[in-house]
Subunit: 222 residues, 2 copies
């Protein structure tokens, strides 16, 4: 991750997420080259990755813009993530070793420590949460699933929204993880799938409350 294109990727992503450029605004490769300090070649590589994640989009004539996601887009992302990650949980339940289950328990302990203290450490929570889900995905042992979920989870909605979680929400996440671990220990794929499903679906509704009700039409941009 030390190649120029990787750094360019990280910097452009941060730049967009910081809000310095707004949705639907145009970006040019030259601009991004100046901002990142690299030439257009690695910038193009980075931009292509960000296009894959749909953080940037191109017009029909190949001009580059910051994507603006509608509420429906975001619901779609949550739904797809749920579908894929439920599948991952089911596969993981069939494959996880006792040692891997123990690892998950350790990660979830860390996650709890991050929130069960005077001043909850949301960043640490998010990091532990990411590791937890990564471990499940890893155990599913399905490279294409990993690739697809990577694009969805990278999606910055998760980061933006996590800030709005209440302490109760975070605690419920930890409990969900506990139950998931129980399902894994019991080697029960259906249980694992169901827990993962409700875990992620609740996350969506927590998010939806902060954004506003469903629209059905095309407004409700974020």
């Amino acid at each position: 991750m030390s190649r120029a294109s990787d750094q360019a990727y990280a910097r452009i992503r941060a730049h967009v997420l910081s809000g310095a450029v707004k949705p639907k605004e145009q970006l040019t490769e030259d601009q991004l080259a100046q901002i990142t300090g690299f030439s257009r070649t690695p910038v193009r590589e980075a931009v292509r990755r960000l296009e894959d994640e749909l953080l940037l989009v191109r017009s029909e004539s190949k001009r580059l813009f910051v994507a603006d996601w509608s509420r429906d887009d975001i619901e779609e992302m949550f739904t797809l993530r749920q579908m894929l990650e439920c599948h991952a949980a089911e596969r993981a339940a069939r494959r996880l070793t006792a040692a891997q289950v123990a690892d998950l328990e350790a990660v979830n302990r860390t996650l709890r420590e991050a929130i069960e203290q005077p001043e909850p450490d949301v960043a640490r929570f998010l990091e532990a949460n990411r590791r937890f889900h990564d471990a499940v995905l890893d155990a599913a042992h399905s490279p294409r699933l990993g690739q697809m979920l990577g694009r969805l989870v990278e999606a910055p909605v998760v980061l933006r929204t996590a800030r709005s979680y209440s302490l109760d929400d975070l605690r419920q996440s930890a409990r969900d993880h506990d139950e998931l671990i129980a399902a894994f220990a019991a080697r029960d794929p259906e249980w694992a799938r169901a827990v993962m499903g409700s875990h992620l679906r609740r996350a969506f509704h927590t998010f939806a409350k902060t954004v506003g009700p469903a629209t059905g039409n095309a407004d409700g941009e974020v």
Copy 2:
């Protein structure tokens, strides 16, 4: 699709699928530039797309190889495709207009004509089949779903295996499409999902018969 990188993509893809290079063989960007007649810049763009489709893979040190898919890899692809396309069928059932249903009927008529003649035209069947599934995906109106399925369906397994379908298999496909259309006309998402599921799962088993039984371990390369 007339840019150099697009042509390079098509040529490299054809070159690999032709079997001129075998799985696990190394390719270099220079080689591919010579083969395609373009410079390395568009070749690198094309190679990245083929990496996304997992037709090409890179070693940990960034050297480029032709992927070799195990039977488990292929089963995974079929499973993921089934999962995603069932979801697409469900969404389509909620959204398809009467005109779109009529279009699907027309496409399926074409598909039948291709096989119900003295000398079945498999290429025409495949083309109609692709259009049918594309129309369903379109109606699902979910860009990320489309992106993901695109990568899976592009995967050449489908093409390689379709040749081994018997006439009965092709006829069954047409009947599946009929039932799917009925489900759409009835606006019944669950029905549509179920039909799509059995349609694709049968395709997997038809394929599996030609390749051999499940392995469980890592052999069974194709």
